[in-house]
Symmetry: C2
Subunit: 122 residues, 2 copies
DNA sequence: AGCAAGTTGAGAAGAAGTTTTCATCGTGGC
DNA sequence: GCCACGATGAAAACTTCTTCTCAACTTGCT
């Protein structure tokens, strides 16, 4: 059976409190505020479990370690701050794409990444 | 001084003939048709050189090894075939984004990846 | 409280892509 | 054609991220 441990609670809370996609390293740092002894292996194990159980979904980015965010949000995209490396969620999607493709191509989905500076790094 | 070798010519030609972004592995396979003894280390060395000299630019994608494409093209995006893994260039950019950002965010650029099936994989 | 079984932390190990090492080869200037 | 020096190929090493191992610890049930 799956147990509720201090570590798992701390990791879940980290996501709810951060309100943005987190990398395993960020999860480690945030959750250590509550459970200082927390190890990286536990973070990875727990992330894996939370993805399988449907609480989180992975967010893949080019040349960066994956982030994770609470699942169940609608279609949206992300913003990566070039200074601090934090990822934020962008609500909605204005992309009217998936029409002007060359013949023979069939679109099944898309990802948009916006790069720039976040409010913290102005 | 920088020499013109069979290997480097083969790698350059691979890009001109492929007409799409190539991964180091793809470069190896294509260029080996002309220089069968070609090694992966040479591919990486040459790619690095071609990027520095401005002939190629890297194309980073989420969870995939970087592709490279001839530099100097205008702003455009890419299509990744989920079956064969090939990347194609999409001309133009319909993205009217970079306006509806939350306050405090400053956009400096963006990337769009479209996923689906390419003509080869229908 | 007692205990079986799941969980944890630290370090080792693994995976995947990229770079370095080094002996040998090839290019281009003379 | 000669030769210095850059380039090559194969394998080892390296990076970065992720997973595994295992002894020690917790949790949840009784």
């Amino acid at each position: 059976m799956e147990r509720s441990t201090r570590q798992r609670r701390a990791i879940r809370e980290a996501f709810l409190e951060a309100g943005r996609p987190l990398s395993p390293q960020e999860v480690l740092e945030l959750a250590r505020k509550k459970v200082p002894s927390l190890g990286l292996a536990t973070v990875y194990r727990t992330l894996k479990g939370l993805v399988e159980e449907g609480f989180l979904t992975p967010v893949a980015l080019p040349g960066e370690p994956s982030r994770y965010e609470p699942a169940g949000k609608g279609h949206h995209h992300h913003f990566l701050c070039r200074l601090c490396g934090r990822v934020y969620e962008l609500l909605g999607c204005d992309l009217a794409l998936e029409g002007p493709l060359p013949p023979g191509f069939l679109a099944e989905g898309h990802e948009v990444m916006v790069y720039g500076r976040c409010p913290e790094c102005t």
